[in-house]
Symmetry: C2
């Protein structure tokens, strides 16, 4: 496909996550003077989502795992980052309707990611928040810490038991990491700090619908993870489905569990912007793309990251992991550059970088091209990969070093309960 | 005063700021088995307020300057920290009405501090937030960063000018530090990151009602601070009074200034709990205490910190500074211990630790018992004192080192715009 007749080619990227940011970096560093690139996101920051559970469990501060998108792209002078929301896509007239006005494009890269899905029960969200944004992470942190505080002054033993019960729904990596961190906080970090409650008596229940947790890993590693979680005081219930969530806790069919805190990590669904596009959606709402990551009906529109269903083998789409998103973002950007140089586009080739999940201090599981690893060595590998990534974005080495250190010493640096409201009238002089 | 006939003496401390926390530490470390100490606060964390302006201006994360009150008191086994709100004080029956139920006391230490005052114009708060809590600091950070983002996509030159205008009302240390940090952010940190706006063209106006800023310092240091602010691009207007704040900006009598961001640092008022007490209030709502920091009508009730009007010389109350609050908290606790040992109470003796204010990188002013200092040396003294304090509370040395380093390199690590709401339904799929 040829660029339009004008001297300037306009590329709009929607989303500043792993896929979108890496697409912008490839295009920005190409130094082509004829490119005008805009990247729009609802947030001003790129978020390192794999460590978001650490914010939710008071190990890291939000800023430790975020970088302003502007900052990451400051050297790409032909890229304009914009804070705003895309309201609609008009692919026929190559136009986006956004909160910053209409944006015209020659090429569009959609990298809006996914959010969690309540499988049609969106009313559960208030009771069982998911973990995709900084705000959700600090809300989860608030609920976890508040539950312990309330238990400390609760005199009714049943209510106290419910306050000390934490249910995590969903046994994927996020659910496992949340449950493991909860186990550690209650066993080690908080154990000295309370007078009336014994945080080591916390009940943490991880509920998984399938027959084992961490389905995307080998069965053997699932088993290792389950045992490790049990050592941290987490009860793993498989083949159980949550059928209702109410003010007091969760139902699983006839069974009922009273819990003050319920966290949701059970499913994701791609961005609803996909419904504006001409293409087939899969079960998770991802749109099916061609081998070059563009849409069949609109070769100037690329969809990448968790928003896309891109086959890497027959019947096998790219996994919803950061490395896949990074690779897809770069691949789409390179195909645009090939177009401009009148070269043929290349199909997306996925390089498997493996999968890892951590289950508390000094324990993790790693799976890499058929190899399996667990225990301390896997945890060190996990640390290495995560620190490396964060350093590549900003000079956060010291923060991370500090975190690893306190993590090792069972400290939690960010045990902050912040309120939902900022005004002092209600908060600071809020007397009856 | 003798303790009551029972074997246990109940002390309740309200507030976990500098005064309350230090009172709890003195009582907790006394190792008296007959003491039962409860400390209640609306927040779970002690906040290092002198660095709060750094959170508001994206230099530090909230957790960097906060410590859970529980954590600070974990070794004091006879102290029970409680998260809750005091609704009323019944001094006659020695009883507090709180959100955790009623608390009976033999001794009461009130250390509820102060909040900002709009001098009867509370409706201004939505437009001009003050800076006393973490939530207010992140709200101010959100507004500052959002103003630049909006200016970047604004096409109307008048609106863009208003977006690039920041008004700080009040020329005390908080106002000066906020204005100075704003000057630095716009001149150095953000200057490379925008494409359409030039952050170094930001207008920052510091409005002070009196004839000079930093009234509590010597006139000579005020002058140094004013010049330093001007170097950072801050315009200082003295003898000006804000008479109205509306959606577009501020009025000063007939004059009008259009500004999207208005910050309030103009006055403080002591906790309204003082009105429940039998005693005389001063102009700032502080209650007048005796030389031993107790109330004349209720010698078992001590009032300390910013909530108290404690004379340190004729007509000269203790200043609203952290060192004074720390000393008052400790003095009240020691007088309780003296009561229990049947010793005479001691009058509060204030040890002047000086005052300091920082105006941007490598510049500060220090005043210490008649001595004056400014410039780089004063700034190093400022760093030293603040790091020392934070280290004494937690192993935050590394975080602080990292901060000083990036501060020196014009970086801002916490440039995060977070939303007011955490739910994803409105935020993450919030399409029309």
């Amino acid at each position: 496909m040829e660029p339009n007749g004008e001297s300037e080619v306009r590329v709009v990227i929607v989303g500043g996550g792993f896929a979108g940011l890496n697409a912008a970096l490839v295009l920005g560093k190409s130094n082509r003077k004829d490119l005008r690139i805009q990247i729009i996101d609802r947030r001003n920051h790129h978020l390192f989502q794999p460590l978001l559970y650490q914010v939710a469990t008071a190990g890291l501060s939000p800023a430790d795992i975020s970088t302003p998108i502007r900052r990451a792209l400051r050297k790409c002078r032909n890229v304009q980052p914009m804070l705003g929301e895309v309201q609609a896509i008009d692919a026929e007239s190559k136009r986006l309707v956004t909160s910053c006005g209409d944006l015209q494009y020659d090429y569009l890269i959609l990298a809006c990611g996914a959010t969690h899905s309540y499988f049609g029960n969106n009313q559960w969200e208030e009771r069982a928040p998911g973990l995709k944004t900084i705000e959700q992470a600090t809300e989860i942190r608030r609920r976890i810490l508040l539950a312990f505080e309330r238990a400390e002054v609760e005199t009714d033993p049943d209510k106290r038991k419910a306050l000390m019960t934490f249910v995590v729904v969903g046994g994927g990596p996020t659910g496992v990491e949340l449950a493991g961190a909860l186990g550690e906080i209650s066993r080690f970090t908080l154990s000295q700090d309370f007078r009336n409650v014994d945080p080591s008596r916390t009940r943490i229940i991880l509920i998984e619908g399938g027959d084992r947790i961490l389905k995307s890993f080998d069965a053997e590693l699932s088993e290792v993870a389950t045992r490790k979680l049990e050592e941290l005081g987490v009860t793993v219930w498989t083949s159980m489905r949550v059928t209702e969530i109410d003010d007091d806790g969760v139902f699983m069919g006839e069974e009922r569990l009273n819990a003050a805190t319920v966290l949701w990590a059970a499913g994701i669904h791609a961005s609803p912007l996909n419904t504006d596009l001409d293409g087939e959606l899969d079960r998770m709402g991802r749109i099916k793309v061609q081998s070059d990551l563009s849409l069949a009906a609109h070769p100037e529109v690329f969809v990448v990251g968790d928003q896309a269903h891109a086959l890497i083998a027959p019947d096998n789409p790219a996994p919803p992991l950061a490395p896949a998103a990074i690779q897809m973002g770069r691949a789409a950007a390179r195909n645009i550059l090939r177009d401009l140089q009148s070269q043929a586009r290349q199909p997306f080739a996925y390089l498997d970088k493996g999968m890892m999940a951590t289950i508390g201090r000094a324990a993790a599981i790693v799976q890499f091209r058929g190899q399996r690893m667990s225990g301390l060595l896997a945890w060190l590998a996990w640390c290495f990969v995560h620190i490396l990534y964060l350093i590549s974005f900003r000079n956060k080495a010291l923060v991370l070093a500090q975190w690893m250190w306190s993590y090792f010493r069972f400290g939690r640096g960010a045990r902050l309960i912040t309120q939902r409201e900022w005004r002092f009238m209600q908060q600071d002089t809020g007397r009856k």
